[in-house]
Symmetry: C2
Subunit: 375 residues, 2 copies
C-alpha cells in the first residue's frame, strides 16, 4: 500500500485545486467533509451522502471513544464497515470536543483526563491514546492531538497553549509511526497572532506531516479577523501538502478561505441546519418554518438537482417540519449537503478555469439579490 | 376513466388472492398498507416505501384536515403530488381518530363536532364533510364516515352505534356520488355480536360499495375474540369485493385474518416499532436496545434483503438507536415494512399454490423457535 499523495492540477491566485489520493478513493479539493459524529451523518444513509458528491466524511473521536467505544468498533471491523461507508474517513483527535463537551477536565503535560458527558466515566486523551483510538477506528486521515486555544485569550495564553500543542504534535507523530495508506495531519495553533502562527507552522513543518490543519479559528473571532489571520496561517504552510481549515463553515467563509489557499473543510452547519429547518440556496438561506412557505409550490432551490428540490415543494417541507416529521430533516439535510457539494464543485471548476475571482463575485452578488421573488 | 375493479385469481379455503385494479396501479391482495398519517410514512422516503413492495399507502383524514388542511392540499395538487407518491392512496374517514385524539367532542345524528388536538380549533366531521375532505385530498379509496364502537360496550350500545354508522354509510354513499377511478368502501360495525355484524353487512350490501371494511375490531378484545368475530363478519360480506380489516395488525393477526378471507390491512406497528427499536423477524421480534445486541455483527434478519439487513449489524443499530440517531429509525422502519411486505408476498404465493395451511404452520413454527442462536 502506498502513502497518501496530494496532487495539484491548477492554481488561481492563492487558491488551488487537485486531489488527495488514498487507497479508499480520491478526495477532490477544495473538499467539504460532512460530519458523521456518532458513526452516522445525521438523517442520511451513506449512499445518499455519497450521492451529494462527498468524497470523505469526518468522524468524531471523542464521541466514538465514549460510545460505542473504539475497541468495539475495531472488533466489528472498523468504522468504515460499522457505518457502511467505504470511502475515506478523517477523524479529529478528540481535543476540541473534550474541551467543549466533557466535564471535570484536568489538563497536564501528559494529556487531558475528563469525565464522559454521557455517563460520567473517566477517560484520558493524550497524543498516544488519541493515535491509538484513531487507529482502532480505522481512520484514513488521522489528526494530531492538540489543545484548541480558546478565544478570546491573552497572547501569553495563546503562546503557552500553542507550544504545548507543538510538543503534543511531536508525540503524535512518534506514536502514529509509519502507516502506509493512512495520513497524519498536524494542526497549527497560535490564535490570531501572526508570529505565533508562523512559529507553529515552522514547528509542524520540521516534524513533517502529510497535511496541515489550521486550528483555533471560527471560534468566535468573526469573519474579518478569521480571514486576516488565515492569510498569516497559510503563508508559512508547505505549498505541496493539503491545508485543512477545521470546523469551517458558512458558505461565505468557505469561499473566502478557498481564495486564501485552503483545500479542506468540515462543518456541522449543513446537517444541523437541515434539522432546524434552515435551507441554503444560492440566494441566501431560508427558514422553512416561515409562514410565507406554507402554500408555496416551488422547490427550496430551483437550481438544485437533489431529491428535496426535484420532488417536494416548500409547502411540503414547511408542513412536515412543523409536524416534526423525520422526513423534513432527511430532505433538508440532503439538500444542504448537496448545496455545499455543488459549491465545492463550482469552486474547483472556477480554479481549474482560473476564474475564481469572477466566481466569488457572482457568489456574493446572487446572495445579495436575496430569496426568490415572493409568489 | 373506468371504475376500480377487483379480480380474484385463486382461493384456498376462505383465503383469496387477486388484485384491485386502479388507474394509479394494481394493489396485489392480500395487501398491507403502510400508514402515512401526516403525508409521510414516518422516517421513509416514498421511493423506499415502494421498494419494500407496498402498492398502496393509507393517509389519515383527521390529521391532514387539521394540518396542513385539505383545501390547501387540493390547491397544491392533491395528496399524491404533495407527498410524492403516485400510486394508490386509501384515506380513512377521520371517524376513528376524532374519537381517540380530539377533545370536546359532541356526537349528534349529523356528525361529530370537536376541537383539534393541535390548536383547539373547532371542526365538524360528518358523512358529507368527510367525503368532501377525502375528495380534496385526492384519495383513490375513500372510506365511509362511521362511528367506531368502543370496546367493551353493552349490546344495546353496539346496536345503536352500528345503526348510526349505517345511516351515515347511506349519507356517505350519496355524498360520494359517482367518481370513476375512485372507490368508496363501506365499514361494517356491530362489535363482537354475530347478529349485529350480519345486520350491518346486509345494510351495507344493500347500499352497495366497491369494498367492505371490518371496523371496530383490534380495539382491545384480544386475538381469540377477534378471530371468532371475524368469522361472523366475513360470512355475510360479498365474495366479489375486497375486504379490509382496519388497523390490523401484528403479523400473527394478519396470517389468521387472511385465513379467514381478509384482503387488505393497515397498521402503524411496523413503522412505530421501528422508531422504538423493535424489529420483526421470522423468528419473532427483537428489541435492538437489548445489551446482547451491542457487539453482534449479524444483521437483524439473515433472511432479509432490505438495506438494514444487507448493510448493517445489530451492533450498529443498537449503537445508533441508543444514541437517538435518526438513521436507526430509518433503517428499522425500512426493515419492518419489508418484513410485512415479504409476509404478504408469502401469503399471496401460498394461496396461489393452495398451500396456505402449510405456510401458516411454518410461520407459527418459526416464531416458536425464537430469535437466532446467541453468539
Amino acid at each position: 500500500m502506498t502513502h497518501i499523495r496530494f496532487s495539484l492540477t491548477q492554481t488561481d491566485g492563492n487558491a488551488r485545486t487537485g486531489a488527495l489520493h488514498t487507497p479508499r478513493g480520491d478526495i477532490r479539493t477544495p473538499a467539504f467533509m460532512p460530519v458523521g459524529t456518532a458513526a452516522t451523518v445525521k438523517a442520511m444513509l451513506p449512499g445518499s451522502v455519497r450521492a451529494t458528491g462527498a468524497d470523505i466524511l469526518l468522524g468524531n473521536t471523542y464521541h466514538l471513544m465514549l460510545r460505542p467505544g473504539a475497541p468495539r468498533i475495531e472488533r466489528l471491523g472498523g468504522l468504515h464497515g460499522f457505518m457502511n461507508w467505504d470511502r475515506p474517513i478523517l477523524t479529529d483527535s478528540g481535543g476540541f470536543q473534550v474541551m467543549s463537551l466533557s466535564k471535570l477536565r484536568k489538563l497536564t503535560e501528559d494529556g487531558v483526563t475528563f469525565a464522559s458527558h454521557i455517563d460520567g466515566s473517566k477517560h484520558l486523551l493524550s497524543p498516544e491514546t488519541s493515535m491509538e483510538i484513531q487507529r482502532q477506528l480505522g481512520s484514513d486521515i488521522v489528526m494530531c492531538f492538540d489543545e484548541c486555544t480558546p478565544f478570546p485569550c491573552t497572547r501569553d495564553e495563546a503562546e503557552t497553549s500553542m507550544r504545548l500543542s507543538m510538543r503534543w504534535a511531536e508525540r503524535s507523530r512518534k506514536a502514529f509511526g509509519d502507516r502506509p495508506g493512512h495520513a497524519l495531519f498536524g494542526i497549527q495553533q497560535g490564535g490570531v497572532h501572526a508570529d505565533l502562527r508562523e512559529e507553529s507552522a515552522e514547528s509542524l513543518t520540521k516534524i513533517g506531516f502529510d497535511g496541515y490543519a489550521v486550528g483555533g479559528l471560527a471560534v468566535g473571532e468573526g469573519q474579518e479577523l478569521m480571514f486576516s489571520t488565515l492569510d498569516h496561517c497559510v503563508a508559512h504552510l508547505p505549498q505541496d501538502k493539503p491545508r485543512y481549515l477545521m470546523g469551517v463553515g458558512k458558505p461565505e467563509d468557505i469561499v473566502g478561505a478557498v481564495l486564501r489557499g485552503i483545500d479542506m473543510f468540515d462543518c456541522v452547519m449543513p446537517t444541523r441546519s437541515g434539522r432546524t429547518g434552515q435551507a441554503f440556496t444560492p440566494r441566501g438561506s431560508i427558514n422553512i418554518r416561515n409562514a410565507r412557505h406554507a402554500e408555496d409550490p416551488r422547490p427550496v432551490d430551483e437550481t438544485c438537482d437533489c431529491p428535496c428540490c426535484t420532488d417536494y415543494s416548500r409547502a411540503y417541507l414547511h408542513h412536515t417540519h412543523k409536524s416534526q416529521e423525520i422526513i423534513a430533516s432527511m430532505l433538508l439535510t440532503w439538500h444542504n449537503l448537496r448545496y455545499y457539494q455543488r459549491l465545492m464543485a463550482g469552486l474547483r471548476d472556477a480554479i481549474a478555469a482560473q476564474q475564481l475571482n469572477a466566481f466569488a463575485a457572482r457568489f456574493t452578488e446572487q446572495r445579495q439579490a436575496g430569496d426568490i421573488d415572493p409568489l
